[in-house]
Amino acid sequence: MTTPTEIAVERRGGAIVAHLGGEVDMTNAGQVRDELLSSVPNDVLAVVIDLSGCRYLDSAGIEVVFDMARRLRRRRQELRLSLPPSSPLKRLLDLTEVASAAPVYETLDAALDE
C-alpha cells in the first residue's frame, strides 16, 4: 500500500506550476520526485510547487524539495514553493529551513511574479 497523491501540472508563462495534492511520505516520495522532474521542460525558468492542496508532507517529502532544487539549479532553473501561511505544513517548512533551497511564497501569484 502506497500513499495516494495527485500531481497536476500547468504552464504559466515562463514557469511551470505543479499542484501537489494528497499526501507525500516515505512510500511515495521517490515517485513524486520522478513525476515532478519529468514534467519540467527545458525552456522554463522556474518551477513552482503549489503546496496549498497538500495534506501531509514528511521528511522524505522535504528531501524531495531539497533534491529537486539542487537538480534544477544545475539546469539554471529555480524551484519555488507556494504555501498559504495558514497551512499546517508551515512550521515544518520553517523548521527544516526549506526556504534556503527554495523560496516560499504565501500565494501562487506572488511565486509567479518573481
Binding site: M1, T2, T3, P4, T5, E6, G21, G22, E23, D25, M26, T27, A29, S38, S39, V40, P41, N42, D43, G53, R55, Y56, D58, S59, A60, I62, E63, F66, P88, L89, K90, R91, L92, L95, T96
Partner: protein, 798 residues
C-alpha cells in the same frame, strides 16, 4: 552508407507538390482501412523518402507514458524495432509531445536544449525533426526523421511531417477506439460467463459477436459455430421469419429488442425463450446489441395448457356437471349427487344438513362458512374455490358455485355445481414460481453490475443493501458506490437512473463508472455532479438520473454533498435522526445549464449516515413527507451494528418484503474513537504509515487538537515509526507499537520498536530526528530490553 548533402539543391515548389501527393496517398490508405502496422511503416517510408533522410521512425508511447517504443521504421536495422527510449523532456521525442508541435535540431553539435536519444547516438544522428502523433492528452507517440549528415529543414518540411503525423493520429484514434470496443467486450465476456443466464452480443450489423457459456451449454454449440451468424440459425423453423423481420426492424431503429421464440436445445428439442437486447454504445457510437435469453418454456406451455383446461371447464359446466348439490331456504344441504359422493367417499346421510365445512381444508373452512352464511342471508349467488378432501384423504382444489333457486316466485334454496380444478390451480402456483425464477435471473444480473462487496475503508464501518423491485422482472437502474480519494476523504454515491430494463442498467453502469472517474480527480461534489450532467446532456444517451454524491472527512466527520434531485441523506445521531438540508439541485440530465450546489454538515461522534434511493420512501397514495418521517423514526432508535440497522430500516419502512421500486441503501459510520487513549500495534512495513496516520489523526481530532497540532503530532509519530520500519530486520522486528495518552494535560506519545535505534544514513532521516525534536516539547530515546522507545511530549493549546 551514402550521405546526401541535399541542402540548397532542392527545387522547393516541386518538392512541395510531391509532398502533398505523398500525403494524399497516405491519407487514402488510412481511409481505406489499411492495418495500423502497415500504415505506420508506410508513413515512415514516406517521411524518409520525401524529406530525404537516412532514417525515419514511428515511436509509440508506452502504457505508463514514460517511454517510447520503436513501432515502425525506415532504414533501421531489425534489432531496433521494439527498443524503448525515455519520453523525458530533455530529448526530442518527449519534448515534441510536451510542446505538442514539431521540433527541429539542425545539429546536435552545439545544441543546448536536447541530448540525443540513445538511438540517435547509436546512429550518429546529427540533424533530426520529430512531430507528435495524436491530440494532446491522447498522444499516440511521435514520428521522426533522422540524418547522420547535417540537414536544414524548412518550415514546409516541418508542416509536411506534422501533416503526416496528423494522418497517423486519425488512424491511431480509430484503432484505439476499436481496442476500447474490444476491451469493453472482454469485460462483458468475463461477466457473462459467470452468470447463469443465456447472454449474447452482436455487432452493429446484427451478427452474433459473442454468446456466453450458458448459451453454449444450452445450444450444445461451440463458440465458433455461433459467431457471425444471425439468431435464425438456432431458432425453430416456424419462428424464423418473424424473428428475422422483428430483429431487422429493431436494429434499424436501435430500439430495445424483445421477442419470444423457440430456441434449439442441445438435445434436439426446442424451448421457448424470451430474448431481450439493448443497443450497445461505446463513446456514443452504436456498436451492436447486448442481451439475454431467458428460458420461459414452462410458462409458455403452462399458459397454453391453462387455456385448454379453462375451455374444458366451460364445457363441463354447461353440459353435465359432475358434482351437484341443493339446499333448502336456510342453507342446509338437502341433496348431493353420485358424483359428489364419488369425490368425497362419504355417504348421502353424512352430507345432509349443516355440513358446509365437512371435508374442507382447515385453512379454507372458516372463510368458506362466513361467505356462505352471508350469501344465504342475502340470497345472493355464491362462488368459491377451496380445497376439499377426496376419498383418498388428499385435498384437491374445487371451484364451487351456488345459485338461488326459485319455485313459483318463492325462494326455496340453492342449486350448486362443483368441479375439480386441482390441475389448473397447482399449475397457477407453479406458474408463479416460474415467474419468480425469471425474476431471480434478472436480479442476478443487476447484482453483478453492483459492487460485489463494499471496499474495506480504514476507520469506516460500511453496510449496503440492494432490493430489486418485487413485481417486475425488469432490471432497475439503482446503484451505490464507495471510493477512497487521494486526499484521504471518502466519496459515497447513491444514484437512481430513471426507467427500468437493460437500458437503465446499462446507463447505470456508465454513470457509475463515470462517477468513479470524476470522483477520483474532482474534490468538489458539485463539480463531480456537474461533470456527470455534462456527460448525460452531451447526448451520449438520453437519460435522467437522481444522484446523491457525498464526501466524508474521516478525521473531522465533515461531510460535503450535492443532491441532484435525490432524497436527502439521513443523519442518525445518538440523540435522534434528522435529514441533512441543503445542496439540492435538479436531477442529472434535466437541464444542460443546471447549477449544482453543495451542502455541508459535521457528523457528531457516534453517528451514522444513511444514503438511499427513493424506492425506500416512495409509496403511491402516501405523501413523501410522511414516508420520510417514518424512515427517520425507524432509523432513530440506537443500534450498535450497522448491518442490523440496515435490516431494521428495510423491515420497518418497507414492511412488504417486495418493494414496488428498486431500493438501494448505503450506511456509513465512522468507527468510534476514544479521546483519552490511543494504542496501536502495526506490522513494521511502510504501508502501516497510512493506517497509523489515519487513526492517530482521528484520535487527535477527537481529543480536541487543532488541525496544525494534529498534523505536527502525527508527523513526528510517523517519523519515529518510519525509523522503526526502516530498521525492521528479522521476524523479531515484525511489529511496532504506538501509544498516546494525556498526562497532566500534556500529550505523551510513545513509539516502541523491537530493534536498536539507529540514525539512518540517508539525509532525510537526519532531518527526521530534527523534525521530531523541533515539533515536540520534549523527546527521549531510550534503549529498553526489547528494543527502542521514543517518548515524546507536547502541550496542546486546547
Amino acid at each position: 552508407m551514402t550521405r546526401r548533402q541535399t541542402d540548397g539543391h532542392r527545387d522547393e515548389p516541386r518538392v512541395r507538390a510531391r509532398q502533398q501527393e505523398a500525403l494524399a496517398d497516405l491519407g487514402q490508405r488510412a481511409l481505406a482501412g489499411m492495418k495500423l502496422d502497415h500504415l505506420l511503416y508506410e508513413a515512415a517510408a514516406t517521411a524518409a523518402r520525401e524529406l530525404e533522410t537516412e532514417y525515419a521512425a514511428v515511436l509509440e508511447l508506452t502504457r505508463d507514458r514514460r517511454g517510447l517504443l520503436v513501432r515502425a521504421g525506415c532504414g533501421l536495422p531489425d534489432g531496433v524495432l521494439g527498443a524503448v527510449v525515455p519520453a523525458g523532456p530533455h530529448e526530442m521525442p518527449g519534448y515534441a509531445l510536451q510542446s505538442d508541435g514539431p521540433v527541429v535540431v539542425e545539429n546536435f553539435d552545439g545544441e543546448s536544449r536536447f541530448e540525443p536519444t540513445t538511438l540517435q547516438r547509436t546512429f550518429e544522428v546529427v540533424s533530426a525533426m520529430v512531430a507528435p502523433i495524436g491530440v494532446r492528452g491522447r498522444h499516440f507517440g511521435v514520428i521522426g526523421v533522422h540524418s547522420p549528415a547535417p540537414r536544414h529543414f524548412t518550415n514546409d518540411d516541418a508542416h509536411f511531417l506534422q501533416a503526416l503525423a496528423n494522418v497517423l493520429g486519425a488512424a491511431t484514434e480509430r484503432a484505439l477506439h476499436d481496442e476500447r470496443v474490444r476491451d469493453s467486450e472482454a469485460r462483458f465476456r468475463e461477466l457473462a460467463d459467470t452468470t447463469p443466464a443465456l447472454m449474447w452480443m452482436t455487432d452493429a450489423e446484427g451478427h452474433v459477436a459473442f454468446v456466453n457459456q450458458g448459451w453454449l451449454r444450452f445450444t450444445g454449440h461451440s463458440l465458433a459455430q455461433e459467431l457471425g451468424h444471425g439468431f435464425d440459425l438456432t431458432a425453430h423453423p416456424d419462428d424464423r421469419d418473424e424473428l428475422v423481420a422483428h430483429w431487422r426492424k429493431t436494429i434499424l431503429r436501435r430500439e430495445e429488442f424483445r421477442f419470444e421464440y423457440r430456441l434449439a436445445r442441445h438435445d434436439g428439442t426446442y424451448r421457448w425463450v424470451l430474448a431481450v437486447g439493448t443497443p450497445r454504445l461505446v463513446e456514443g457510437e452504436f456498436v451492436g446489441y447486448v442481451g439475454t435469453a431467458t428460458d420461459i418454456h414452462e410458462r409458455r406451455t403452462m399458459e397454453e395448457a391453462l387455456r385448454e383446461s379453462e375451455a374444458g371447464f366451460r364445457d363441463l359446466a354447461d353440459t353435465a356437471p359432475a358434482m351437484i348439490w341443493t339446499t333448502d331456504e336456510n342453507g342446509l344441504v338437502t341433496f348431493v349427487n353420485e358424483g359428489w359422493l364419488r369425490f368425497t367417499g362419504t355417504t348421502l346421510e353424512e352430507e345432509l344438513g349443516a355440513t358446509w365445512t365437512l371435508g374442507v381444508h382447515p385453512d379454507d373452512a372458516e372463510e368458506l362458512q362466513a361467505s356462505w352464511d352471508e350469501a344465504v342471508a342475502q340470497r345472493r349467488r355464491w362462488e368459491r374455490e377451496y380445497r376439499l378432501r377426496g376419498q383418498d384423504q388428499r385435498y384437491r382444489w374445487i371451484a364451487d358455485r351456488g345459485v338461488p333457486n326459485y319455485a313459483g316466485g318463492r325462494f326455496v334454496g340453492y342449486v350448486g355445481t362443483a368441479i375439480d380444478i386441482h390441475e389448473r390451480k397447482t399449475m397457477e402456483g407453479r406458474l408463479l414460481e416460474v415467474y419468480q425464477q425469471e425474476h431471480r435471473i434478472a436480479e442476478t444480473l443487476q447484482r453483478s453490475l453492483l459492487p460485489e462487496r463494499l471496499p474495506k475503508v480504514e476507520g469506516l464501518e460500511l453496510a449496503a443493501r440492494y432490493l430489486p423491485a418485487g413485481q417486475e422482472t425488469a432490471i432497475g437502474g439503482d446503484w451505490y458506490d464507495v471510493l477512497e480519494r487521494a486526499d484521504g476523504r471518502v466519496a459515497l454515491v447513491v444514484g437512481d437512473v430513471v426507467g427500468h430494463g437493460l437500458r437503465a442498467a446499462a446507463t447505470m453502469g456508465q454513470l457509475r463508472n463515470a462517477c468513479r472517474a470524476y470522483g477520483l480527480v474532482e474534490a468538489s461534489p458539485a463539480e463531480v455532479v456537474a461533470r456527470l450532467n455534462r456527460l448525460v446532456t452531451s447526448g451520449v444517451e438520453e437519460a435522467m438520473a437522481t444522484v446523491l454524491y457525498l464526501v466524508l472527512d474521516r478525521e473531522t466527520g465533515e461531510v460535503v454533498f450535492t443532491s441532484a434531485g435525490h432524497p436527502p441523506p439521513l443523519l442518525v445521531a445518538p440523540e435522534g435522526a434528522r435529514y441533512l438540508e441543503g445542496g439540492r439541485s435538479v436531477p442529472v440530465g434535466a437541464a444542460d445549464s443546471a447549477v449544482f450546489r453543495e451542502g455541508m454538515a459535521v457528523l457528531p461522534p457516534g453517528s451514522s449516515l444513511l444514503l438511499y434511493t427513493d424506492g425506500l420512501v416512495e409509496r403511491r397514495d402516501v405523501p413523501l413527507q410522511r414516508r420520510l418521517d417514518e424512515l427517520a423514526l425507524a432509523a432513530g432508535a440506537p443500534e450498535d451494528d450497522l448491518e442490523r440497522l440496515c435490516d431494521r430500516i428495510l423491515g420497518g419502512v418497507l414492511g412488504d418484503p417486495s418493494p414496488i421500486d428498486d431500493v438501494a441503501l448505503l450506511a456509513v459510520r465512522p468507527e468510534p474513537v476514544a479521546a483519552d487513549r490511543f494504542d496501536l500495534s502495526l506490522p513494521a512495513e511502510p504501508g502501516s504509515l497510512v493506517v497509523l496516520r489515519r487513526r492517530l489523526g482521528r484520535f487527535l481530532h477527537a481529543a480536541g487538537a487543532s488541525q496544525a497540532e494534529a498534523y505536527e503530532v502525527t508527523l513526528t509519530v510517523c517519523e519515529a515509526a518510519g525509523n522503526a520500519i526502516e530498521h525492521a530486520y528479522g521476524p523479531g522486528d515484525a511489529t511496532f507499537d504506538v501509544a498516546a495518552a494525556f498526562e497532566d494535560g500534556e500529550l505523551v506519545a510513545t513509539v516502541r520498536d523491537n530493534g536498536s535505534w539507529r540514525e539512518r544514513r540517508s539525509q532525510h532521516r537526519g532531518r527526521g530526528l530534527a523534525i521530531i525534536k523541533g515539533l515536540m516539547d520534549d523527546v527521549e530515546v531510550a534503549a529498553e530490553d526489547r528494543g527502542t522507545v521514543v517518548r515524546m511530549r507536547r502541550r496542546l493549546a486546547a
